[in-house]
C-alpha cells in the first residue's frame, strides 16, 4: 500500500538519482514540473472531450463521436487544427502586448499548481504561505486578460476584458473570504498542513473534513460559486459571451494563441478545483478509515473528478447571468455571507464542543441570513437599464 501510495515520489527520486549530485535538486524540480505539465496537460485534453460528451448526453444528443473510438481522439484533432491555423494579428493591434497576453495568462496558472498537494508528500514546493502564493499568482491573470483585451484595439475585446476583470476582482473577494475560515481552523497557510488538519475521524467513521461543519459547508458552496466565476465558467461566462461580445477578449485571437487561452482557462479551473478539494474535502484523505488502502493521489483524483463533473453539470443546467446580476450577486450576496461565515467559524471554535448546540447555533446563524438575503434579492424586480452606447 505504501509503495503504491508513494509510487510517483519513488519514481521521481529514482530518476533524479541518476543525475550528478550537485544537480539533483534541480532535476527533482524539473521532474515535478514535467510531471505536472504532463498530467494536467492530458487532463485538459480529456476534460474537453468529456465535457462535450457529457453536455451532449444532457442535451439529448451525441457528443463528438467521429474521431477515434467513440470520438475520443477529438482533442488531438482539435489540437492539430489549432496549431496549424494561421496566426492572425490585427493591423492596429499592439503587437508586443498581443503576443504576451496568452503567455502572461498561462504561466501564472501553471505556477499555481506548484503548491497543491496531490497526495501524501506530493506537492512540488512546500511553502509556508502556500495559499497566499496561490492567490497572489492568480491575481496576475487579470492583467493578462486586460492585455489581451486592450492590445486587440477592438471595442468588443475591450468591453469583454473589462467585464472579465470586474468579474474576477469581484469574485476574488468571496473566494478568499470563503477560504479564510479553513485557514483559521488549520492555523496555517500551508496547504499540506491544512490537509493534515483534516485527517482523523469523528466517532471513528465521519471524516473530519471541513465540509462536514456548518461553516465548512457554507464556505464550500461559496467557494465553488466564486471559483466558477473566477475561471469564467458557465453560468458566469459572460466576459466571453459569444452571442453578446463575439467571445470578448478572445475575439482577435486565433490559432496557437487562442489555444493557449483555452488551456489557461481550463488550467485555472483545475487549479481552483484542486484548491477546493484541499481546503474543504480533506485533500487526499480517504473518506473512511477502512478505505485508507487506496492511494492518496487516487482519492485526490476522485474528488477532483467529481468536482469537475459538477462544473460541467452546472454548465448544462444554468443559463448565463446578466452583468449587473453577476456583480450584485457577488457584492450583495456572496460577500456578506462570506463575512458572516467567517464570524460563524470563529464562533465555532469558541463555543464548547457540545455537538448539537454548537451545530444548531452555527447553522442557524448561517441559514437565517441566507434566507433573508435571498428573499431580499429575489424580491427586487430587475430594473430598467440604460445603455447609452446602443443609441
Amino acid at each position: 500500500m505504501n509503495a503504491l501510495d508513494q509510487i510517483f515520489i519513488s519514481v521521481q527520486h529514482g530518476m533524479a538519482g541518476l543525475a550528478p549530485a550537485p544537480l539533483q535538486p534541480l532535476v527533482l524540480m524539473l521532474l515535478s514540473i514535467a510531471g505536472l505539465m504532463a498530467v494536467f496537460g492530458s487532463c485538459f485534453a480529456l476534460t474537453t472531450i468529456l465535457e462535450r460528451k457529457i453536455l451532449g448526453r444532457m442535451q439529448n444528443r451525441f457528443g463528438p463521436n467521429r474521431v477515434g473510438p467513440c470520438g475520443f481522439f477529438q482533442p488531438l484533432a482539435d489540437g492539430v487544427k489549432m496549431l496549424t491555423k494561421e496566426d492572425i494579428v490585427p493591423f492596429s493591434a499592439d503587437k508586443a502586448l498581443h503576443f504576451l497576453a496568452p503567455v502572461a495568462l498561462t504561466v501564472p496558472v501553471w505556477l499555481a499548481f506548484a503548491v497543491l498537494p496531490f497526495g501524501r508528500n506530493m506537492s512540488a514546493i512546500e511553502m509556508d504561505a502556500g495559499i497566499l502564493f496561490f492567490f497572489a499568482i492568480g491575481s496576475a491573470s487579470e492583467l493578462a486578460v486586460f492585455m489581451a483585451g486592450w492590445s486587440s484595439q477592438n471595442k468588443y475585446s475591450l468591453v469583454g476584458a473589462m467585464r472579465a476583470i470586474a468579474q474576477m476582482i469581484s469574485y476574488e473577494v468571496p473566494l478568499v473570504l470563503a477560504g479564510v475560515p479553513v485557514l483559521m481552523a488549520a492555523g496555517s497557510l500551508s496547504l499540506p498542513d491544512i490537509v493534515q488538519a483534516q485527517s482523523n475521524f469523528v466517532w471513528g467513521f465521519v471524516p473530519r473534513w471541513n465540509v462536514f461543519t456548518p461553516w465548512g459547508l457554507a464556505g464550500f458552496a461559496l467557494f465553488l460559486i466564486a471559483a466558477a466565476a473566477e475561471s469564467n465558467r458557465c453560468p458566469f461566462d459572460l466576459p466571453e459571451g459569444e452571442s453578446e461580445l463575439i467571445a470578448g477578449f478572445l475575439t482577435e485571437y486565433s490559432g496557437f494563441k487562442y489555444a493557449l487561452f483555452f488551456l489557461g482557462e481550463y488550467l485555472g479551473l483545475f487549479a481552483v478545483t484542486g484548491l477546493a478539494v484541499t481546503l474543504f474535502l480533506g485533500g487526499w484523505q480517504a473518506p473512511a478509515p477502512w478505505l485508507q488502502w487506496f492511494p492518496s493521489w487516487g482519492w485526490f483524483t476522485a474528488k477532483f473528478g467529481a468536482l469537475i463533473f459538477l462544473f460541467i453539470w452546472a454548465r448544462a443546467t444554468l443559463p448565463r447571468l446578466r452583468l449587473d446580476q453577476l456583480l450584485n450577486f457577488a457584492w450583495k450576496f456572496l460577500v456578506p455571507l462570506a463575512l458572516i461565515n467567517l464570524f460563524v467559524a470563529a464562533l465555532w471554535w469558541k463555543v464548547p464542543a457540545a455537538m448539537p448546540v454548537r451545530w444548531l447555533l452555527c447553522a442557524g446563524l448561517l441559514v437565517v441570513p441566507f434566507v433573508w438575503l435571498a428573499r431580499i434579492w429575489n424580491g427586487t424586480k430587475p430594473t430598467q437599464r440604460h445603455y447609452d452606447y446602443a443609441g
Partner: protein, 189 residues
Amino acid sequence: MPGEIAFYLIAVFTVAFAAAAMTLRRLVHCALCAAAAFAGLAMIYLQLDAEFVGFAQLLVYVGAIAILIVFAVLLTRGDEVAPGNKQSSPSWMAGAAVAALVLAAMAVAILHSPSLHRLAPSGAEAPVRRIGGELMTRYILPLEMIGVLLTGALLGAVVIAMRDEPETKQPARDVAPKPAEPLEALNSR
C-alpha cells in the same frame, strides 16, 4: 553564488521595467511595466527570505493597484496620445536634475556607510505564524488602524469617483457596486 546571480538578474529586470514605466509614451504600457517592476520587487523580497511580504506585494500591487491604474487610464482616456501632445512637463529637466541629485546623494551616503559589505546573517526567516502572532498582539493597534484606514479609503474612493447623478429627483436606482461603475462608464463611450 546562484543567489547572487538571481539577485542581479532580478535587479536589472526591476530597474529596467521601472525606468520603462516612467519613460514610455503610452500610459497603458507604463502601467503594465510598473506592474512588472512591482512583481520584480516581490521576487526580491522572496529572495530576501521575506516570503509573506513578497506574496502580499504581489497580491496587492499586481493584483489590485496595477488593475486600478489600468482602469484609471482607460477611464481618463489617458491612453490616447495626441500627436503634438508632449508627455513630459515643461521643466522636466529640472525634475531630472533633482532626481539625479537625490540619487547621487543617496549613493554617496550608501557607499560611505560602514555597513557596506555586511553579509546577511543566516537563518533569518519570517514565518507566517509568527507574523500572524505579532499582528494580533504587539501590532494589534496599528492593525486596527489600518483596518479603519482601508475602510475609510474604500468609502472615500467610492464617494469621490461616484458620478454625480444629473437628476436627483429620480428615486435612487439600484446602484451597482464599485467595480461595475467603470464598466458603465466604458459602455457609455
